[in-house]
């Protein structure tokens, strides 16, 4: 068991080191930082001095090790654009993105689970067919299109919901929350729906497939023979056995949602990490880009590793694998 955990952790570490290497390479590929920082008046001697000060004359490996060391301590340098600490910039935007992602995740479970159960037990009914067909459309609609359509309907035509921004936020220490004000909650509605739609269809399709499998199993037949009410069989017996893959999917997809949030954030002008990243991309603000890449990948890898380890704790058969 311990060996398995160590192996998984080592693997995760290796992946993170490679991601850090990629982030580090971005700096190299995008041109000479000294040229970006200097103006026409900078003399050659000044440039050399700056180069020495930034440690750009050291060899590749030394620079990379330094980058990883700094990144591990949360030091991602200073933004080229406005000269602020990158970590501070991201920390300021982090709560906005996380609240959006959390609400979208909860929404995907609240809507996806019942719909999945419904389409599996009422197979062939017209509304199940429509939902099944609709789920393909849900997967096909890009999230920015969903956002635009929602804005057109609820903000432009009906004028009932805000189309951009976060509303009023309350500061709780360093975390700023939109959960506590009316405008904050209203502002959350459209972005979280547009972010969660894809996830809803994924959960629904997964639950449907799993339920169809479980409903064929012997224990469900036995429960039926015992005369347990159908509703109870569906939700207490069958659904419980489908929850494992759903939980896995949800946990693993939080990383994906954070990445996809950058599209939603752009559509709704939501002041989160994603918008910071997109602005950084347009201004070629490399430290911010590199930091965002590292942080999102870290969350992604962390969740995946946790799920793998938890699986092994729960199900000993998986410990032998790999």
């Amino acid at each position: 068991m311990l060996v398995f955990i160590i192996k998984k952790l080592a693997n995760a570490l290796l992946v993170m080191l490679t991601v850090a290497l990629l982030a580090f390479l971005i700096f190299r590929l995008a041109g000479d930082p000294v040229d970006m920082m200097s103006t026409e008046q900078t003399t050659q001697a000044d440039k050399e001095l700056l180069r020495e000060k930034l440690g750009l004359n050291d060899n590749f490996l030394v620079q990379y090790t330094r980058f990883v060391g700094n990144a591990a301590q949360g030091n991602f340098g200073i933004s080229y654009r406005n000269g602020q600490e990158v970590l501070g910039l991201i920390a300021e935007r982090f709560p906005a993105t996380m609240e959006l992602v959390i609400v979208a995740t909860i929404l995907s479970l609240l809507v996806g689970l019942p719909l999945g159960v419904l389409t599996s037990i009422k197979r062939g009914a017209w509304y199940s067919e429509i939902l099944q067909f609709g789920s393909i459309i849900g997967v096909s609609l890009p999230s920015f299109v969903v956002g635009i359509l929602l804005i057109l309907v609820f903000s432009v035509s009906l004028g009932v919901l805000p189309a951009f921004g976060r509303g009023d936020v309350v500061e709780l220490g360093w975390w700023s929350t939109g959960f506590l004000t009316r405008t904050g909650l209203l502002a959350l509605i459209l972005p979280s729906i547009s972010l969660s739609l894809y996830q809803v269809t994924l959960v629904m399709r997964l639950v449907r497939a799993e339920m169809l499998e479980v409903m064929r199993s012997d224990f469900v037949k036995f429960a039926r023979a015992r005369g347990i009410p159908r509703f109870r069989i569906y939700f207490r017996h069958a659904l419980r056995n489908c929850l494992m893959p759903v939980v896995t999917l949800t946990a693993m997809n939080i990383g994906t949602l954070i990445a996809f949030a950058l599209i939603t954030e752009t559509v709704f002008q939501w002041p989160g990490m994603g918008m910071l990243f997109i602005q950084a991309v347009t201004f070629v603000d490399i430290p911010v880009m590199a930091a965002y890449l590292c942080i999102v990948s870290f969350i992604f890898v962390f969740l995946n590793t946790m799920v793998d380890i938890l699986y092994a704790v729960i199900d000993p058969r998986l410990r032998g694998a790999k």
Binding site: S140, P142, I151, F260, I263, V281, T282, F300
Partner: protein
């Protein structure tokens, strides 16, 4: 298998008509609907120079007096601008047909390149195993540990930065193809690798190896054809994904420039006029993109079920 025993080999059309796939196709409403829709979209996009009322790339044909016209059924419209014009006086229908063509070409190129890379890596990793396998699959692990959209954005942003400024407009589509290819090849590599490992142990591969057929020939001529069914399904579905990724990148402003718009660029432009009342600038490209991706995904979905032996 011997051709002599059947004097008349059925023609290609006859063989297609008798196949299981055709039977499944002709009995699936969504599949036929999607096929018709996709055919119309693809044909109209590639015939755009012939059927579009205007060439949106040709500034000579743009008449600034005719900008911001509404669609033909709304008051204040003008023939032949059936779907209206945008703020640069481009006919919406024409610019959309050309945009669809751009989106289709980029998607097609990206899927083809990821197929080539993915198939080669998967075959080599699966056939040789050992260190090569380990190395190639670890590379895949890293790619999979970064969300695809993030890879595509980063690649496209950085490669564009590396290009000299006067090449950025022209090279935009190549950059997009590269970005989507690099973010999409891993799934093919994994699929083919898994299948290759299974096939490698079978008798026909043993026989070929005993006959000293060179490994490259075994991989390409013997193993590859047996791994293609799942790859075919994956390719159809990821063609839809590629179109979406391209649209997303263009929407975010790191894809096709406004001068040679794809559907994503058009939606980006339209999004700026969301509150101006000119709904036609954004709605039509949005609808076109959705129809395109939905038809591709419906076909992919049907293909996955039709080729799945478990569901027969």
């Amino acid at each position: 298998m011997s051709i002599q025993s059947t004097p008349q080999r059925p023609s290609l059309i006859e063989r297609i008509r008798r196949s299981d796939l055709w039977w499944s196709f002709s009995h699936s409403v969504p599949a036929r609907f999607a096929a018709v829709l996709l055919t119309v979209l693809v044909l109209s996009a590639f015939l755009a120079p012939l059927i579009a009322p205007q060439n949106p790339y040709d500034a000579m044909q743009l008449d600034m007096w005719k900008s911001e016209l509404p669609p033909i059924w709304v008051e204040g419209s003008e023939w032949p601008y059936i779907l209206g014009t945008d703020t640069q006086a481009r006919d919406m229908l024409s610019v959309m047909l050309y945009g669809t063509r751009t989106s289709l070409l980029i998607g097609l190129a990206a899927v083809s390149f990821s197929l080539v890379i993915g198939l080669s890596f998967g075959l080599i990793a699966g056939y040789f195993g050992g260190v090569v396998d380990n190395l190639l699959m670890r590379v895949g692990d890293v790619v999979l540990s970064i969300p695809t959209i993030l890879i595509a954005i980063l690649v496209s942003a950085i490669v564009r930065q590396m290009l000299p400024p006067d090449l950025r407009e022209i090279g935009a589509s190549a950059v997009l193809v590269l970005a989507i290819t690099l973010s999409g090849w891993v799934q093919y590599a994994r699929t083919v690798r898994a299948q290759t490992i299974v096939e490698r142990g079978k008798e026909y591969v043993m026989a070929a190896r005993l006959l000293r057929v060179p490994p490259r020939r075994i991989m390409v001529k013997h193993i590859l054809p047996n791994t293609l069914t799942p790859v075919f399904v994956a390719a159809t579905l990821s063609f839809g994904m590629a179109i979406l990724t391209e649209a997303t990148l263009s929407f975010l402003g790191i894809g096709m420039p406004p001068g040679q718009p794809s559907l994503g660029t058009l939606i980006r432009i339209g999004n700026q006029y969301l509150f101006s009342g000119m709904w036609w600038i954004v709605i039509f490209p949005v609808m076109q993109l959705c129809l395109l991706v939905i038809s591709v995904n419906l076909l992919g979905d049907w293909l996955r079920d039709a080729l799945n032996p478990k569901l027969r």
